[in-house]
Symmetry: C2
């Protein structure tokens, strides 16, 4: 089995690569070849024991997608995207990459009539827009309030339509906000959801810019990789024509997140979270969804993190070598 990952240099892409190499199999078949692509050159994992090619290119350039699928990968993970903030400030770039390049990829797959790979596309909760019911059902309408969300929604429509026509076998998964996201603090409005856990565990202070009552839909990096792996092996017939699924998550309040941090790492660590409310961020966050009823995904075997404590423990194990500062 040959696997292609678009967006392989990103956090999710790297973790997915590692997981596939560690598993050695995907969708019940032995992985023999891995193609890794991103706009910057993805690192080649050492001692993987399988054939690995890496590519760096702007896949929104006509012709780029063709080179990537020339080796006819059996499973394509399409994780590549211009993120929300940049798609909002650079309208043309967002549409070019998130919509046009996605469509070009789909078109080159379609052009080979004998070729029908599984395509796993990462969509986003940004396809939804406020106001929301308390719990958002699987059949809630798509009314994005960002260009990124509009582009992902169009990607979902194309994915379903190309799949319905038998051009490939696609699944779109809407990932929750990833928490705890490893790495440096960033300026994303959602950054604090990870920051208030990651920074205190590493010995640093973290600012909480919103009320502790804010509830958000979260999944750990481990859970997110689990969704991607599960989607790769899912029976397309069980899915039917509705190919885009909201992924399970934890709908948890910031207060409960900090309480879990206290339970896992003690008061000293939890006290490193300093609340400093920021009306600008509070307004943005107020427009985000809090809780979903992801019945379809559950029925199809996708599983969320057990609780927020396990998310913290997994972060300590995966990112901190088991050590709390």
């Amino acid at each position: 089995m040959h696997v292609l990952i678009l967006g392989a240099a990103g956090m999710i892409g790297r973790k997915l690569t590692d997981r596939i190499i560690a598993d050695g199999t995907l969708a019940g078949r032995k992985v023999t070849r891995l193609t890794l692509h991103d706009v910057v050159m993805p690192a080649t994992p050492a001692d993987a024991g399988i054939e690995i090619e890496t590519f760096a290119s702007d896949f929104s350039v006509p012709g780029a997608a063709g080179k990537l699928i020339a080796g006819k990968p059996d499973v394509i993970f399409h994780l590549a995207a211009i993120v929300s903030g940049e798609a909002e400030t650079d309208f043309d770039k967002g549409y070019r990459v998130n919509l046009d390049a996605t469509r070009m990829l789909f078109e080159v797959i379609r052009a080979d009539e004998s070729y029908c790979p599984r395509v796993v596309f990462t969509s986003s909760l940004a396809v939804f827009g406020a106001p929301f019911p308390d719990v958002i059902p699987d059949d809630f309408h798509l009314t994005p309030l960002t260009s990124y969300g509009a582009q992902k929604a169009c990607g979902e429509m194309l994915l379903s339509d190309f799949t319905r026509k038998g051009m490939f076998d696609g699944i779109g998964i809407r990932l929750p906000t990833i928490c705890v996201r490893p790495g440096m603090p960033n300026k994303a409005a959602s950054g604090f959801f990870s920051g208030i856990i990651r920074e205190p565990l590493a010995g640093a202070e973290a600012v909480l810019p919103v009320s502790t009552e804010v509830v958000h839909w979260l999944a750990s990096p481990r859970a997110a990789i689990g969704f991607l792996i599960h989607a790769a092996g899912l029976d397309g017939k069980a899915l039917g024509p509705r190919r885009n699924l909201t992924m399970p998550g934890l709908g948890i309040s910031v207060g409960d997140m900090i309480a879990a941090l206290r339970e896992v790492a003690g008061e000293k660590v939890a006290a490193r979270v300093r609340q400093e409310r920021d009306p600008f961020i509070e307004t943005i966050v107020a427009g985000w969804p809090s809780r979903f009823d992801t019945r379809r995904a559950y029925d199809l075997g996708f599983t969320a993190d057990a609780d927020f404590k396990s998310i913290i423990l997994a972060h300590i194990e995966d990112e901190l070598g088991g050590q709390i500062a």
Copy 2:
């Protein structure tokens, strides 16, 4: 006020043209100029008393949209589309016209930063896909089961996003099935909804290929034109960011349609409907929505036909000169 109609040679386009000329105003302003466009040359209405230009071009060709908006129309009705059946059999043509040309139109409007027209876009109930609840709410998800529906859903996403960004002021309206559609019988799977009324009134037999219990969401041509006119004058602020609306209709069974025909035109006319069930058409129709709760559209002042009897009477008045065969 300068008005542009794309798709002006079609049934809705022609009736909209006539209505605008008859009214003399749109959105509370005097109409002084009308630009009519289609892929075939639209007829120039006689004695309109205002400046009328007509154009024929393939507006999916780059550059075509620019010529159309060179005169900076204040209101643009975008009715142009490859219909459902053709978009399903000619995948490339459907995407080229229904998605790419729509986007090119939006992009040329955007390119002029000082220009912000009202754009009224006709979307379709084909953005929805079975299975459905008994009554479909305004916040039901978009899961099209045709390429046409996928293309219209993408058009809706673009319309909302360009509007949110202030590039124009768009409204998307999802029209019910138009009944009674004037003209010749056609091979569309939905053709019988009009055929079973139009043909008997004109002295001809009509075949009913489904059960009399089938319920469908209908609006008269008059109501559809009313939606377009109302959308042109609607306050964008009252709409908010959710710019795509399902239009009110009548959710009526075929049996009740025929009963209304009998009431209006007598048993002799109603007896011209002959039931001959067609499993192929029955299967297609079973995948279509029946009833909607179009609360948002009602709250915004869109109004449906009063009942099916008035739809028949309007058809007799508008299309048959008041005469039943």
